[in-house]
């Protein structure tokens, strides 16, 4: 489910900002339950998303809507609908280059050093909530490129899981149009894709052979305990739909699924607030991730 927080359209003038404190409370409810956070400067985005839900439920003011959102009977359903407004369902390949840059410059060298010392030369990646496959295919292309450099002599595999069968079938087929391919270079298209029809390309066998697609329910403890030995897990904007207790359980699983020094990437505005203290938040240029082991505070910039 690689959805991303809906970005404002830069050409669009922001809607007039309301100072109604109810919006701050709505923001805090969303944060407490989903981990999605909207800083004050971005509240106008939240307001425009709320506006649609307010119309839908017939709330006349933000505080009326807040009441609707927090009343026992509606809460789960309404929060899910609101989160659907806040996130958008489409994604594309190479959506977040700073994450890949963090992998290339810090995470891979760290993991390879630790594993290489033990004589292992295999890496495992997991795209948890892979939706229609853009994320694992991006990762596969990235890793193949690295294989010509620092990953020479190493092998890797990518596990891509989702709960939704339709999404998984789309991901397995690997047929994509312009939107999904917007950041894929001509050279990459030539190398890793074949023509499917006039408008679309299909992922070639080389990429497909690196990825194993599987249906996994992240709340299914009996399955989660067997997914061991991961080096990096991507789980972007999936946990926001879980309640706190299930989220805690999933994140605890992730923690044990990861090897020491392994990393967990979440969505752009997500955090593990109140979920887990075992992971350490690490900032990279333009990206953040959670690390399993105590890290040295910096790779190149030790203070």
């Amino acid at each position: 489910m690689p959805i991303d927080i809906a970005k404002e359209n830069p050409t669009q003038t922001p809607a007039p900002v309301s100072n109604d404190p109810a919006y701050l409370k709505i923001r805090d409810v969303i944060y407490r339950i989903s981990g999605i956070y909207q800083p004050e400067e971005k509240l106008y985005l939240l307001q425009s998303r709320c506006a649609r839900r307010m119309t839908a439920v017939g709330a006349k003011s933000p505080s009326e809507y807040l009441e609707h959102l927090t009343s026992r009977g509606n809460r789960d359903a309404e929060l899910r609908l609101l989160l659907n407004e806040i996130t958008i369902g489409e994604t594309y390949m190479f959506r977040h280059p700073p994450q890949l840059e963090a992998l290339r410059t810090v995470i891979l060298p760290q993991v390879m050093q630790a594993k290489g010392a033990m004589g292992f030369k295999r890496l495992r990646f997991w795209s948890a909530g892979c939706s229609t496959g853009e994320e694992p295919y991006t990762l596969a292309m990235f890793l193949l490129q690295e294989k010509e450099k620092q990953l020479a002599g190493w092998t890797f595999d990518i596990l891509a899981t989702d709960l939704n069968d339709d999404s998984l079938n789309t991901a397995r087929a690997g047929v994509y149009g312009d939107y999904a391919l917007r950041n894929v270079s001509e050279a990459q298209r030539q190398k890793y894709f074949k023509v499917h029809d006039e408008k679309r390309l299909q992922v070639g066998d080389q990429l497909k052979s690196l990825i194993r697609f599987d249906r996994v329910n992240l709340s299914d403890d009996s399955k989660m305990v067997f997914l061991k030995g991961m080096d990096v897990i991507f789980c972007c904007n999936v946990l926001i739909y879980f309640d706190l207790a299930s989220k805690k359980r999933v994140v605890q699983h992730f923690y044990s699924n990861l090897l020491p020094n392994g990393y967990l990437f979440l969505g752009h505005a997500e955090s593990l607030f109140q979920v887990d203290n075992a992971f350490r938040l690490v900032h990279f240029p333009g990206a953040t991730a959670y690390c399993k082991a105590p890290t040295d505070s910096a790779a190149g910039g030790k203070k």
Partner: protein, 312 residues
């Protein structure tokens, strides 16, 4: 740094006065740095700004930037009003520094340097407000001045400092690490000597000398810790030294966070993720403000000396 090197550094910095020409408003400004905010005269500051047309123009640009503007600001007087005395004073100081260094001595792009300094000033102030630090305006000034030592290195050790910068850029490591290897000291150390030479307040001297060396003392001041964190945040949010540094930072795991959390209960209640997302939210405006003052996207190293960067 050994004592011989320190003496040499002090001697060099004394020479600064003869090779650089500080703007006329510099000395009166330095004097106001010691005054508490309620002792600064509004008329005096307006007069200082008005004396220098370049500085007045930059003041107007900042006052009209997205961070401050509510309505169009057209006069120096209203610009000073809009920005607030403390901020104008700090900004003036920064703008003066800009002139202290003769053009040919700038090893890096002046604009890239000031982007990082102003960015750090705004982030430090924002963090200060967030955690309830009692003097957010002082935090702003500290952020603005923390890298003074880079000016000294550029001016006094021009060729060697150029090597530091080239090596930092090529290896994508932190600048102060390359300085230590090549010069035998960092801009923290030369910054302290320069700050003392200019008789800046002791807390500012501490900030310049500790912002990369928080762990080297048992009890760093909260101000130095704030600037340390803010410098790191700027560097992981593309307001760094203008090259692609490889950096992985655990903000909440270091001494600076612990010191601040111990003295500021508001920080102890905050989680690192939310704190930094809040700063991230402000970052867009901060970058817009920095752009409004200095123009967008300058790299620290001028194009002709830049190594081919194939990373992106």
């Amino acid at each position: 740094m050994n004592s011989q090197k320190l003496e040499q550094l002090k001697k060099h910095i004394k020479k600064l006065d003869s090779i650089s020409t500080a703007p006329v408003i510099m000395q009166p400004l330095l004097e106001t740095l010691h005054l508490p905010s309620d002792k600064i005269s509004f008329e005096k500051v307006v007069e200082l700004v008005s004396r220098d047309s370049g500085i007045a123009a930059q003041c107007l640009r900042l006052a009209n930037s997205p961070l401050f503007t509510h309505r169009e600001v057209g006069t120096v007087r209203s610009a000073v009003m809009a920005l607030g005395l403390q901020r104008v004073r700090s900004m003036l100081f920064g703008l003066c520094m800009n002139r202290v260094l003769p053009k040919e001595k700038w090893v890096f792009e002046p604009v890239a340097f000031w982007r990082h300094s102003l960015g750090c000033a705004l982030v430090t102030q924002r963090m200060a407000q967030k955690i309830g630090y009692h003097e957010p305006e002082k935090a702003y000034l500290a952020g603005l001045l923390h890298d003074l030592g880079l000016l000294a290195n550029s001016l006094l050790y021009t060729e060697d400092f150029r090597k530091c910068l080239a090596q930092a850029q090529e290896s994508r490591r932190a600048l102060h690490i390359c300085e230590d290897e090549i010069l035998g000291f960092t801009h923290c150390e030369s910054g302290r000597v320069l700050a003392q030479h200019w008789r800046l307040p002791e807390d500012m001297c501490e900030v310049t000398s500790l912002h990369h060396a928080i762990d080297s003392v048992p009890n760093p001041s909260p101000l130095a810790c704030l600037v340390h964190l803010s410098d790191l945040l700027c560097r992981v949010r593309f307001l760094g030294y203008g090259y692609d540094e490889i950096l992985a930072v655990d903000l909440g795991g270091g001494k600076a966070w612990q010191v601040l959390a111990a003295s500021h209960p508001q920080l102890a209640e905050m989680d690192v993720a939310r704190f930094t997302m809040d700063i991230d939210g402000a970052m867009e405006q901060i970058v817009a403000t920095v752009d409004a003052v200095f123009g967008p996207g300058h790299k620290l190293v001028p194009a002709e000396t830049k190594a081919q960067s194939g990373a992106h």
